[in-house]
Every structure is written in C-alpha cells, then in structure tokens.
Subunit: 460 residues, 2 copies
C-alpha cells in the first residue's frame, strides 16, 4: 500500500458495491448450535418459526451452507440512500495519537437511524412486504433499531409497531419522535395492549420496563395479529448475514487501495456489528487465505464474552424466546445502567459465540469512562461524535495504536464506527461533568446469574 | 444530460474539490452598500474593525474586487473531514411526488455541527490562529454556529467562548453538550460575566435572553480581553465568501454530469446558506453566461425579503453593532417563536440584499406547518431528517416540482439541504402532535418595527 495515494475517505463507485450477502456459516467446519424449542429441548424447525417470523428470513436463519445470498433489487435500491458508506483513513486521529499505526474506520452512522441497524431493517421489511404481510412488530431499547425499522417499513408501505422500553421512551423523547415521524406506532412497554404487559403492570406497578418484557409484548402482538410477524435487530444469524454488507464494502475498499489490515475491531452487544463487519474477513481466515487479529470490544458492565459461559440460555429475560447456545452472563443478569444501551444484552450471537469458542477472535471488556475518554479523543480529532456503543471499538483501536507507538510497528488497524452519538448527549453530559461512574459486576453476581441457566435435556 | 448515467450520489474526487472561494462582489456592477459606524454615519474602515474582528477577515469583508480567494491549506485540510459533500439526485422524492422534474440536493448536514456553518467556522478559526490570537468569542441561538465554531477552534488549538441565548441553553441541553465536548466555554446569556449582561439582568430579572443581547456580550468580552476577537456565523460578506465552497462544489458536480439547472433554491435567515450556495451561479448570471431562476425561501414569521424594507438598520437588537444596508423588518422586530431558529433574524446579508434589490433572484415566505409537511415528505422519501431551516428550501423545491407535474415540464431543480434536524425533534414532536401553529406578523406590527429604523445622516 502507498499511504500517500489513499484518499481521506474511500467511497466505492455504485458499480463496486456488493450485491450479495456473505454467510460465514458456509465456511465454518463446526456450525453454530441450533436454536432450541424451550418446551421440548428440540432444535427449532422452520414450522416452529413461521408463525412468529417471516418465512424467507427463517430460511436464512437455518441455512448453514449457502455461502452467498443475493441482495434483492429492492433492498439494493434502498441501500443506495445511505450506502456505500465511506472507509475513512483516520489521519487526524493518527496525528493526535502520534502513532506509526495506520488507522481506518468504516463509518456506518451517516443515516437518520444513526447506526448500522438500517442494513438489516431494510432487508427484514422487504421480506415482510414480499410475504404479503400487513406489518411487523419489534422492541427497541436504545432506539436505533426502532428508528431503522420505522424508516424501512414506511418505505415498503407496511405497518410497524415498536415496543419501546418505558424508561427509554421517557428518557429519549427525541428518538421516539424520529420513529413517530416515520409513521410507526410506538408503545411504551410494559403496556396495557398485551396480556403479558397487563400482567407485568399488575405485578410491578410503576415499573419502567425492560428489554425482555418489550420482546415478550412484541412477540405476543405478532402472533395474535392477522398478517403480522415479529422482527429482531441483532443476535440472529439472518441479522449477521444482512450486516455483512459492512464487511464486504470494507474489503472492497481496502482491496481497491491495496491496504492489508492487521487488526479488525468492532463492538459487541448482540453481535450484529462485529459479526457484520468482521465475518467476511473471518471467512478468509477460515478458508486459510489470510490471517487477522480480530477484537470484539464489549462493556465491562455486561461482559458476555470475557466473563460469561458458552451455554444454552434464553434470549430474553422473560424466558419465552427460544434457547440459543451462546456466550452469556445469564438471562437473569441485570446489567448496570451504562450508557451503551445497544450493548446491554446478556447473550451473544450464536455464530460469533461459536467462532469465539474456536479461538478465531479475541474479546476485551472496557469500562465506560475509558470508553468516553476514547470517544472524546476521536470526536476532537476526526470531527464525528461517536455513539457510546461504537466508542468501545474506538477504545480498542486507540489502545492498539498506542501499543504501536511503543513498539514502532506500522500496523494497519481497521474498526467499525457503527453509529453517531447525537441521541446520547445525556451520557456525554455526565462524562463532561465528571459524574460518570463505572459499575463492574462482582464475581458473585455473575455466578448467581449463571446458576440460573436453563437445564436443557441431553445438552449439558 | 443523460439522467440514467447519473449516480444517486455524486461525490467529487479529492482533486476535483475547489481550492478557492468565489467573491460575487467582484462581478456586481452595483456593489453592496458599506457598513456604517453607527456613531458617525461614516463607512466602517478596517481600522474601526480590527479591534473587534480578525484582520484577515476584515480584508475579506471590505474587498469588493478580488474575484477569487485562495483557501488556506490548513482550511482545505480540515474541509477533507466533511467535504466534498454529496450532490444527491433525489429520485425517491421525484417518485413520491410523481413529478417529471429532476430534483437534486447538495447535502451539507453530514458533519457533527449538523449544518453548513462549519465551512465558515473553520476559516474564521484558522485566521484567528494565524493572527496569533488566544481565542474568539461568539453568540449562538439555535446552536449550529456555536457547535461548528467549537469544533473549529479546538482543531486549531485556540479558546472559544460561546454566549448562548439562555432559553436555547436551557431548551437545547444536547447542543450545549456537543459544544462542551469540543472544549468551548459556553455561557448562558444574559450572564453576569459582562457589563451589558449585568445591566440586562438587573433591568429584566429572569429574562431568558435574546440573540441581540448575546451578541452584545460576546462583543464586549472580545474587545475587553487581550488576544480575543469576535466572530459571526452569517450576514457578513466574509461568511458568504467562505460558504461559496457549497456552490462551487455543486457547480463542479453538475458540470461533471452535464446537468444544467433551471431552478436553484436555498433558505434564508442571515443569508449564509443561500449566499454560499447560489452566488457562484449568480456570478454566471452577472457575467451573462447563464440564466437561472433562483429562489430564497424564508419564514413567514420573519419575512425580511418579502415584507421588509431595503434600508440601513442595526444588525442586532441591542443596537450596538454597525449599520448595514439590507432587507430588514426592523432590528426591534421580535419574530414569533417559530422552530427554524437559524432563520429568525430581522435583517439579511448586504450582498444578497443588493442582489435581490437588483431583481437577480426572488423570495418566498412559508408558514412553518407547510414547511414541516415538506420536511416529513422529504424525510420519508429520502431517508434524511432535515433541519427546520433547510425544510424551507425543501418546501419551495417541492412546490416547483409539483408545478412541473401540472405542466409536464422536466425542469432541473437544485436545492441546498443545509442541515439535519436531529436537535430539532421538539419541533417535529409538535408537528406530529398537531399542536404546531403559524404566527404571521400583522402589517401593523411590521410597520411599527420599521418605523424605528435608525436615521442615517445623508443616507435616507
């Protein structure tokens, strides 16, 4: 690579943009473990899944063999609104750190949802429309997924009901308004619109809700309403599949300028971000074509990879969703109120979990004050205010770049800047005021949560 | 032009980006009227200006003859962070409107300041640094200018003090936090840090401030502090000069694909947006090389062009700033609390005022509910949530496109999408709730304000 010939921002031409998604499972010798029906302990079949999820998405979910999936033309058409996203040579950050490392970031935040979530939302809304559905339901915590889905469903002309965790609904009125502007119905959860919501409200008067409860409500409405299905923004194999557009574009941009990465970094909550960004590169590794150091950056307050267990667990706190084999700190673990709402998930993508189990990549946990320190360095150097979630990846990238400063190595670091922090300024305000704290769960808290993992017949 | 060969987003290559700013005054036969010293009624000299403003900027302010100004290398370097901005073919909007018109927009919102303001902020911070100053002071209303300036000053390593109108400071805590994150000092105005602030607080206990007062405080601090100068984000000739980067890039992108615009549209508050976008095209008109229909879109609640008078007036409510000959509804006019904070200015750029007076372009006033209706159509079609200010231009563009639908004409409409609405969701919330209202000033209110225009000896 000749660094002097690389533009600050690399944009692919429209005809260089990938037209297929990549399914990393096709290259995995040991496949991720199947989802299980929590009642029977048996692998979930497409017949189990079709009443809840869209049919075409279920096919993608269960397909461990097809390497490439065509991106439907209608989805490609929508992608043009915000893709290709730039691969940026972070030369201002390099200078601020005074490092010999070469740092690049793929910037997924330049769309109104403010994150990479739109990549899968468009696909899911498209398949729902193609199936002739009337609408979809979902939950949202931090709000990025709900925003992305509302944008996608209105584009394809189908309904969207978003159950938003009540405390987020109240604390993030602006996220709520974007979702309303895009015409979705947004309901604070727990609500009185579902049986499960009524029950929780009766048992816990005044509760401000949880993601687990919002999932339960969204699923109930999908199952009970004619022509509706439930959709989800992370964790699932299908979501990782759609998100590979990030990694594929990054690969194309890197190849265009003959840039060979040494280190690839993404943050991890449910896995859609690291999975989408890294899996095309992991595919090269699995096929023996290349070798990279890949790092997942997670919050120390919810350390699924670094302190969790690889075991079957419920995907939701309410314990009504299928069981997934994944790195988990336990579905009954309640993460402290850190500001990276998108990373506060007890479990992890089954694909990433199996790859991590195989030692394909490593993970690191960061405390939020370290993360915001990195966010501020980045914002000042590169002029982009990053999302708290994405700032975990920035922290890891800065740490690696500072190591290079010590050793004098010119490593090439590429990370995924998955979103912007325009709706997270309350968190920045706490950081600016010096009132932000770190809460790391004690060993006994994690042990306690892990002791409640479900017993799966024949699977332990 | 072959519309099928035009990409959805046109990005210039780095080597196609303009390296000079264009000074439209060089092509004007009748120049804009000079600023006057309000005490003497005499044209302001550079000696009058140097104690308040940066020297190099004063030269630009007064230079009616130099056609091209080199953009300093350091400014070009910073521009790379967010420029070139894309010229987008709004094909989704065309489809939503079912119009034969071809619509393009220059998108200036994809940077953390959320608007085009960064173009001039970088230049002003650079010249302040080059002059060896310690820092700059300014005021901000809606907050875009304050954000942009804080980004620019921290990049060049100089201090920045932002006086933010108290009601905005309190109502827009998130804007405030971005500014703080970039290390600027931000002071709610009126404050107790200046004589004028103390006086206003004593006379009007509990006041939530005004832009006029914030200007007065920022100027006082600049003049009284060693090594500080005052900078301003609109109205001035120098600001329009820096903002021509928008129009020059747009021209280059249009030429690259042989697109010949019929209609050019921008919103107008103080004039930096329309002036920067349109003046390179106006230059072509003044030189007899082309002819365009150019439209300035202003709020009906503060209708400087459409209901104001072309006369000398104070630039600020506090009547301490120089007098400018401009379209004005009177410095004592108090616009109703509409949501396009960036357009709530009683006056107008002297350059644009003279051009409007010469009949070079036309102006239209829009009520804010019409504007938000257009914003929502645009957000849904093109996936970008626009700023309320920019949405005035969208309204005008949609109206022109709908006229084409009636007549069947395939006119080419290009507008400037100057910013995003991520910090304006309270306004969207009012629109979504149906509680947004329009307040149009009565004739007698405007007559009353115009009756208070200053008397300038020998100038009436």
């Amino acid at each position: 690579m000749d660094i002097t010939k690389i533009p600050y921002k690399i944009y692919l031409e429209e005809n260089e943009v990938p037209t297929k998604w990549y399914n990393v499972r096709a290259d995995m010798k040991v496949k991720p473990a199947p989802l299980l029906n929590p009642g029977t302990g048996q692998p979930l079949t497409i017949e189990d899944m079709n009443p809840i999820f869209c049919e075409e998405l279920n096919k993608q979910e269960l397909d461990n063999d097809t390497r490439w999936f065509d991106i439907p033309e209608e989805v490609q058409n929508f992608y043009r609104m915000f893709r290709p996203s730039p691969l940026v040579h972070a030369e201002f950050l390099e200078k601020a750190l005074d490092t010999p490392a070469k740092i690049f970031y793929k910037f997924e935040g330049n769309n109104t949802s403010g994150s990479h979530k739109l990549n899968s939302a468009v696909a899911q809304a498209y398949y729902a429309k193609a199936q002739g559905l009337k609408g979809v339901t979902t939950e949202t915590g931090a709000g990025q997924w709900g925003t992305a889905l509302s944008m996608a469903t209105q584009f394809f002309g189908i309904d969207c009901k978003v159950y938003m965790v009540k405390c987020s609904y109240e604390q993030k009125p602006f996220r709520r308004e974007v979702i309303r502007t895009y015409g979705a119905e947004i309901i604070p959860s727990p609500s009185m619109t579902t049986e499960v919501g009524k029950k929780i409200n009766a048992e816990h008067p005044g509760t401000t809700g949880s993601l687990g409860c919002a999932i339960s409500e969204a699923v109930e409405v999908a199952v009970k309403s004619e022509g509706y299905r439930y959709v989800l923004g992370s964790v699932l194999n299908q979501v990782l599949l759609h998100q590979t557009i990030i990694g594929l574009e990054a690969q194309a941009a890197l190849k265009k300028y003959n840039i060979k990465p040494d280190i690839l970094i993404g943050c991890t909550g449910g896995g859609s971000n690291l999975g989408g960004f890294a899996s095309p590169f992991i595919g090269e590794m699995l096929r023996g074509e290349a070798n990279y150091k890949i790092i997942g950056a997670e919050p120390a307050s919810c350390p699924s990879f670094t302190r969790g267990k690889y075991a079957y667990d419920f995907c939701d706190t309410g314990m009504i969703c299928p069981l997934a084999k994944m790195y988990t700190v336990g579905s009954q673990f309640i993460p402290s109120a850190n500001h990276a709402g998108g990373l506060r998930f007890h479990g992890m993508s089954p694909i990433l979990s199996e790859l991590y189990h195989q030692g394909v990549f490593e993970a690191r946990a960061y405390e939020q004050t370290q993360v915001f320190e990195a966010a501020e360095i980045f914002a000042k150097a590169e002029g982009i205010l990053p999302a708290p979630e994405s700032s975990h990846a920035i922290r890891a990238a800065i740490d690696e770049a500072l190591k290079c400063k010590e050793t004098g190595e010119e490593k090439v670091i590429v990370f995924n800047l998955s979103g912007t922090g325009y709706f997270d300024l309350y968190a920045y305000s706490q950081f600016n005021d010096g009132t932000m704290t770190d809460v790391i769960p004690s060993d006994s808290v994690i042990e306690e949560a892990l002791s409640k993992l479900p017993k799966v017949p024949g699977m332990e």
